[in-house]
């Protein structure tokens, strides 16, 4: 967006002078894919290679390895440490490049890295984490040679048991350029802007406080590059996000931290956070250690005191109150779309239709296994249903009510890959909201210590000045841009294999899915 136009356009929106004065030129970020190598000295690799004293430095291994694992630099007496993270493991036996066999002195040994057992969990397996890192590094899906099983996790249910029924060959031949991945966010036809994003996802809300400045800005830059959105979370509107107004969703959550008329007026989408999937019905909790002076200033609170956002909105006790809420925001910003972020109780279908009736453009459902900076374990595991069930339930209900095409349904809560995104859409969502994937791209290992002490030891979900200096915005945004690009490539490939021209054609196409635990014969009977 041309900077000079911004203020003129905003002036046309009848914004008060006080808000106009706060507007700044918007940044442009090119969707450029560049390598963004891992930021740690020793990258965690799936395979470990050891070289013994038997090595005679003949260099055969370096010659043979197409990946460039073995490096003997000119002028050096010994091999450098092997670049284990590019090693594809014993699968290169098939192409005759297996260094262990080729070494005339038997000096090499390869084992699967025992650390894989520590890395990851049921939902984010070690393969999924490594593959996501690879995508963030290169901007493309990982080479199949690596053998990563990254299309799903190991949770034993939901997305992890769903598969696409790909035909043997695509029913129509489509080139990737013909396939449209854009998503329309305003379906109400109410005269508010028709906002279209280039990919069917946007970034989830992570407040300043729960994540660092650098993390927030990295997400924002990627959102600009892909003409999509990022969300402020509930911690207020950072000064630094102002150059990203056009691609920022501001969140109005129950604590109303840092929410002012001006912050609502400066953006194109306002999100009401009614509940969060990881802790439905509980409200937010920023632990005292994370309320640093800068966080306290942003939230207009006191340093070192825990901050609670209540559940629910204490101004909303009925669907009418909900409508009043929406009307208030729509009045304050006459050009914004309004999203309602809810979690997934048994009556999520009623919640969705209620939100639509109250005037929401976007209904955003956050499933029970969604991300968080801190939540009681009992809540993360036990409260509200996983998103897979909720999508189907709400999509069907809105369809029966005849309003499905008047509202955009966004799903989140445990979506980890392009395959999950495609499955969510095939189950009935229009698009998805992603969060953890972006953090993994920035180097998250899912150790789940976001909340302890000084915060994230990896420098992602922390406001500790020392810790958050571990990477800069340039590297961070490139990693997220690369990940987005890889996801988009995969999504396009899924659509191409299914013979679909656009991602909107995939919505609700459960006939293209199968479930590994079922006979998959229901569709045929009907």
């Amino acid at each position: 967006m041309a900077n000079s136009l911004v203020k003129e356009e905003m002036a046309e929106r009848d914004l008060p002078q006080s808000t106009l004065e706060t507007l700044v030129p918007q940044v442009e970020v090119r969707r450029e894919i560049k390598p963004a190598p891992p930021r740690y000295r020793n990258e965690i690799a799936k395979y470990i290679i050891r070289r013994s004293d038997a090595c005679k430095l003949c260099g055969k291994c370096a010659e043979a390895c197409p990946q460039g694992v073995h490096v003997l630099k000119g002028g050096y007496k010994y091999f450098a440490a092997p670049r284990q993270n590019v090693c594809i493991g014993p699968s290169c036996k098939e192409t005759g490049h297996y260094c262990v066999d080729l070494c005339p002195n038997g000096a090499l040994k390869m084992v699967e890295n025992p650390m894989m057992k520590v890395l990851g969990d049921h939902r984010w397996t070690s393969d999924l984490i490594l593959a996501t890192w690879k995508m963030a590094e290169t901007g493309a899906p990982p080479d199949p040679e690596y053998g990563y099983q990254y299309e799903c996790g190991d949770s034993g249910g939901g997305f992890d048991r769903l598969r696409f029924r790909f035909p043997d060959r695509p029913p129509v031949d489509l080139s990737p350029d013909e396939i449209d991945t854009s998503l329309e966010l305003n379906r109400r036809g109410d005269g508010r802007p028709q906002i279209k994003i280039d990919v069917p996802w946007y970034g989830g809300g992570m407040s300043f406080g729960s994540v660092s400045n650098v993390t927030q800005l990295s997400k924002a830059q990627a959102a600009v590059a892909f003409n999509t959105f990022t969300c402020t979370g509930e911690g207020g509107y950072m000064e630094r996000l102002r150059p990203y107004d056009e691609h920022t969703i501001t969140q109005v959550a129950t604590g109303l931290f840092g929410v002012r008329e001006e912050t609502i007026q400066r953006v194109r989408i306002v999100e009401f956070k009614y509940a969060q999937g990881a802790k439905p019905g509980l409200g937010g909790h920023l632990l005292a250690d994370k309320v640093t002076p800068s966080v306290a200033k942003m939230r207009e609170t006191v340093t070192g005191i825990s901050l609670f956002s209540p559940f629910p909105f204490h101004s909303v006790y009925s669907i009418e109150d909900h409508k009043k809420h929406m009307d208030w925001v729509k009045h304050v910003n006459r050009h914004a779309l309004v999203s309602a972020k809810v979690s997934t109780p048994a009556d999520v279908d009623m919640v969705a239709v209620g939100s639509y009736s109250a005037g929401a453009h976007i209904v955003h459902m956050d499933g029970g296994y969604g991300g968080t900076g801190a939540a009681p374990d009992i809540a993360k595991k036990n409260i509200a249903m996983p998103i897979e069930y909720a999508i189907v339930k709400v999509h069907d209900f809105l369809t029966r009510e005849g309003v499905r095409d008047k509202v955009t349904l966004m799903a989140s809560g445990g979506l980890r890959s392009a395959h999950d995104i495609a499955k969510a859409i095939a189950l009935g969502a229009d698009g998805v909201v992603v969060g953890t994937g972006e953090l993994v791209a920035l180097g998250c290992v899912r150790c789940a210590r976001c909340e302890s002490g000084r915060g994230c030891p990896r420098g992602i979900a922390t406001t500790d000045p020392d810790l958050q200096g571990q990477f800069n915005v340039e590297w961070g945004s490139q990693r997220v841009i690369n990940l987005y690009n890889a996801w988009r490539i995969e999504l396009v490939d899924i659509l191409r294999r299914l013979g679909l021209r656009s991602v909107s054609e995939l919505r609700g196409r459960t006939d293209l899915l199968m479930h590994l635990d079922y006979t998959n014969e229901a569709g045929k009977a009907e």
Binding site: D121, G371, M385, A461, D517, G523
Partner: protein
């Protein structure tokens, strides 16, 4: 303002080295001794603690497994000498039902009395068996909380044990019959006898104090009554004697001061209850029923008898039906009993106490949703004392966790902390459900989501029949 139920807690550190999930394997031989050692940068300061610990020479044989698993040192060591490993000792904790995570979280709660909190989304499997095949629900978003908006301090977790007549009959201005006695406890949980094999002789004396401090009741076998110690008198309101089907009744002096007594199911039940009531008409008598193949039917049958006040339905320690090749789970059996009593219109008249398989705070809430008024707990309190369920004591060998040698202060502190943490977590899920009184949570299946039902309604509809059940 009425007194709030509050459990006093204090940190009670473990006696033995902590057992964490992962630890760092350090290949020290190759260390270059460089000046930017990553160990100094550990965000959690674990290496410094480890060094201090080793200097302390308390336990030379222990590996230090307090690593938080962030991989930072592993990835930054100049020479790449460090790697993370799953702690085999951690992996060997517990058994198929009592997982290492359950044991670890119980230890943390027993130490700190805090609700376990962590970052990032849920990490476990999609669903599971037993209590893992259901989720609790949350309150409606735009019609929040069924009971109206109240702070958590207004959520009541109190329950009554005893018979509640459906109708009151009056003569002139007074009730015609004497109202049956009720035992009011502030938390829907009582302490049950330890299962066979885990009955360490010093435990009853600890339970007695824990029950008094938390306001609940500990069931103690009358055969082991002498293990309770000398200062028994003041604790009697928080103790319930268990008497087996043919065991003699407790001394009248004891019965008169107790509020609850439990008898084993057997012949002459009505007569035995009458004998106890003859000594102390204000005592509530619970009948203990084993949840074996006949347990459910027996429970339903007895609940209809006018002389029954409370039934204690007990499955095995893993929540499974007793002596069965393909056991049902305790939550499903309770649901069956509860539903049957509801259909007969007599559910409110009798109190159901469910035992077996209660390992985490969430199980308490889920069991109540499935129809119990309250639950009975045993093994978690033992785990609070750093038991690893190694079962060595079952074979008559010495306890690895040294539980026979604990002092009462430690035992009481750890168990009280655990009860407090469970109470807080119960309030947490009840707050989310919008339920203000745990008595209203009983049988409230509308506040729960069941895996089988959701699967059928979602994927069954789309993808046909489920394979292999």
């Amino acid at each position: 303002m009425p007194d709030k139920y509050h459990i006093k807690t204090r940190p009670v550190p473990p006696r033995r080295p902590r057992i964490g999930r992962c630890g760092v394997v350090d290949w020290r031989e190759d260390c270059a001794g460089c000046h930017n050692c990553v160990k100094r940068d550990c965000v959690f300061d674990r290496y410094r603690e480890e060094a201090a610990y080793i200097r302390d020479m308390r336990e030379m044989d222990s590996l230090f497994f307090q690593c938080m698993g962030c991989f930072s040192c592993v990835q930054q060591c100049t020479k790449g000498l460090l790697s993370l490993s799953l702690n085999p000792v951690y992996e060997r904790l517990g058994n198929g039902y009592w997982t290492p995570q359950m044991i670890e979280t119980t230890w943390t709660q027993a130490e700190t009395a805090r609700i376990p909190v962590s970052g990032a989304g849920y990490r476990g499997p999609f669903s599971g068996t037993g209590f893992d095949s259901m989720w609790t629900d949350m309150s409606e978003i735009v019609r929040p909380t069924r009971d109206g908006i109240h702070g958590r301090e207004y959520i009541s977790t109190a329950v009554d044990i005893g018979r509640k007549p459906a109708l009151l009959q009056f003569e002139a201005d007074a009730a015609r019959d004497r109202l049956p006695p009720l035992v009011d406890i502030p938390i829907p949980m009582i302490i049950d006898m330890m299962p066979q094999g885990y009955r360490l002789p010093n435990l009853p004396a600890v339970f007695k104090v824990v029950a008094a401090q938390t306001g609940t009741i500990a069931i103690v076998d009358y055969n082991e009554w002498d293990l309770l110690g000398n200062d028994l008198e003041q604790y009697l309101p928080n103790l319930a004697a268990y008497i087996g089907p043919s065991a003699p009744a407790p001394a009248a002096g004891m019965l008169l001061k107790m509020r609850l007594v439990e008898v084993g199911d057997g012949d002459r039940l009505e007569q035995r209850i009458a004998e106890l009531k003859a000594v102390n008409p204000d005592i509530v008598v619970a009948v203990r029923i084993d949840l074996d193949a006949h347990g459910v039917e027996r429970g339903i049958e007895l609940a209809g008898e006018p002389y029954i006040e409370a039934l204690h339905l007990v499955a095995d320690v893993n929540g499974s039906e007793l002596n069965s090749g393909s056991p049902r789970f305790v939550k499903d059996m309770l649901r069956q009993v509860h539903t049957s009593l509801v259909q007969r219109g007599i559910r409110n008249e009798v109190t159901l106490i469910a035992g077996g398989g209660i390992a985490l705070a969430e199980h308490m809430a889920k069991q109540i949703i499935c129809g119990a008024d309250l639950v009975s707990v045993n093994l978690p309190l033992l785990i609070a004392l750093e038991c690893t369920l190694c079962r060595q004591c079952n074979d008559g060998l010495s306890c690895r966790a040294g539980i026979r040698e604990i002092d009462t202060d430690y035992g009481v502190g750890r168990m009280t902390n655990l009860v407090a943490a469970w109470h807080d977590q119960l309030i947490e899920v009840m707050g989310a459900m919008g339920i203000r009184d745990v008595r209203r949570l009983r049988g409230e299946a509308g506040r729960a989501l069941f895996y089988e039902e959701l699967e059928e309604a979602t994927f069954g509809k789309l993808f046909g029949k489920r394979r292999n059940g």
